[in-house]
């Protein structure tokens, strides 16, 4: 027994080593499978995390629009019940427009004003059954009767091709300064009153001209529009210019 002890110890050690090697090999296979499982979980969680962040951002934007709707209870806002999603922007360089995912079937009609929580976007220009086109206030064919909030002077904000809109028809003797806030005047019946349009960034006054001009920076960032609200209970007055249907 005593003589066999060293052998027993040696063999027992070898046996332990072999067991360790086998168990390591088995562990390795398990670890690989486990690693694959965890990798899948990480991928799923990463995707979930991205989706949640996107939902959080969208939620924040919708909350802003809701706040705007609550602060302006006089208007009935509709779009996917409340809000419309922008599905296309400026497909042509010669018309500043966006396309919404709501149309006649959702109660959208030509002439309805379109806003965000930051201010006026434009008005509904063409309506299809499931989508509609909005003519932005930056388009040269758009004219919005406006006033300077500080001194209530009226004018018209006209879009400009490829540059910022301009407020025209401001009397020569009127006092207008950079930073003045421009809002809709409601004159002409095309847009509701008191919607924010933008801020004056430049004033152009020439002695030989009848009126002053003010360049306006819109408060709405037209490049980053994702959701807008359509004011559905505002009816533009009749005799507004119709949209041109087709060539010829």
């Amino acid at each position: 027994m005593t003589a066999g002890r060293p052998f027993l110890i040696t063999f027992s050690g070898i046996g332990r080593q072999i067991t360790n090697v086998v168990s390591t090999a088995r562990d390795l296979a398990t670890l690989r499978a486990r690693n694959n499982q965890l990798q899948t979980v990480v991928d799923t969680l990463t995707i979930d995390n991205l989706r949640l962040k996107e939902i959080e951002a969208e939620n924040e934007r919708l909350r802003s629009l809701l706040r705007f709707a609550q602060l302006n209870p006089n208007y009935d806002f509709r779009g996917g019940q409340v809000i419309a999603r922008v599905i296309s922007k400026n497909p042509s360089n010669y018309l500043a427009s966006i396309t919404l995912d709501l149309g006649a079937e959702h109660g959208i009609k030509p002439g309805m004003p379109v806003v965000t929580e930051r201010g006026l976007v434009g008005r509904i220009y063409k309506v299809g059954p499931l989508s509609s086109t909005v003519l932005l206030i930056t388009d040269p064919s758009s004219g919005v009767p406006a006033l300077i909030q500080r001194n209530r002077l009226v004018g018209v904000v006209n879009g400009r091709a490829g540059s910022a809109p301009v407020m025209d028809y401001i009397p020569q003797d009127a006092e207008i300064t950079v930073g003045d806030l421009i809002i809709t005047s409601g004159l002409g019946g095309e847009f509701p009153k008191n919607l924010v349009i933008g801020q004056v960034v430049e004033v152009r006054q020439r002695d030989y001209e009848m009126f002053q001009q003010a360049t306006v920076r819109p408060t709405v960032n037209f490049d980053r529009l994702e959701f807008v609200q359509v004011i559905t209970n505002f009816r533009p007055l009749p005799n507004q210019p119709d949209e041109p249907d087709s060539v010829g």
Partner: protein
């Protein structure tokens, strides 16, 4: 009997080529309009985005002849007008007007060179732009010719020229590898 069978077979082949041409036109133009309305509008220089449809029509006219170009211009222009909200026909007319420009490249000895398509795009962009503006003027819409030329057409030329080296080789590959029937009146 054999001759009749051959004639029928030839007619069948011709029909298939025609159908391939129609499918190709529909697929390329639909993709171009979708890309134009959703992706390319994110690229802005001054007041303009690249005009993919114009580049495609000009390059295709150069590769496959004016008739094909005019057909693509008409169909693509109508699609663009429907999506953009421009008066129906404005883009279609302006695109069709640019196609005769390809006469300049009819006898080109360097069909693979990018110089000619770039030159044609350079000329076609203002012609297209002024065509659309003219249509808008005729329809009584307010148009700013000078500002549009400076802030829209100018940057659009640069963007379209940048697009040409990508589009022309792709369409050239398509014209060589897809056996589509050529349009004829």
């Amino acid at each position: 009997m054999m001759g009749m069978a051959n004639r029928t077979s030839r007619r069948f082949r011709l029909n298939r080529r025609d159908l391939t041409g129609i499918y190709l036109t529909a697929a390329v133009l639909t993709l171009a309009i979708l890309a134009q309305a959703t992706l390319l509008t994110r690229i802005r220089l001054g007041g303009a985005s690249p005009n993919l449809l114009l580049v495609i029509v000009v390059c295709w006219s150069l590769l496959r002849g004016q008739t094909d170009g005019v057909l693509w211009g008409f169909a693509g222009g109508l699609g663009l007008d429907l999506v953009s909200g421009l008066p129906l026909g404005a883009s279609a007319l302006a695109l069709m007007v640019t196609c005769p420009l390809t006469v300049l490249g009819k006898d080109s000895v360097f069909p693979g060179s990018l110089t000619l398509p770039a030159l044609l795009v350079l000329l076609a962009t203002p012609i297209f732009g002024w065509g659309v503006l003219l249509t808008k003027t005729m329809l009584g819409l307010p148009v700013e010719w000078l500002a549009s030329t400076r802030y829209v057409i100018g940057p659009e030329i640069a963007l379209n020229l940048a697009l040409t080296p990508v589009i022309y080789p792709a369409l050239r590959w398509l014209a060589l590898h897809v056996r589509a029937g050529q349009a004829g009146w």
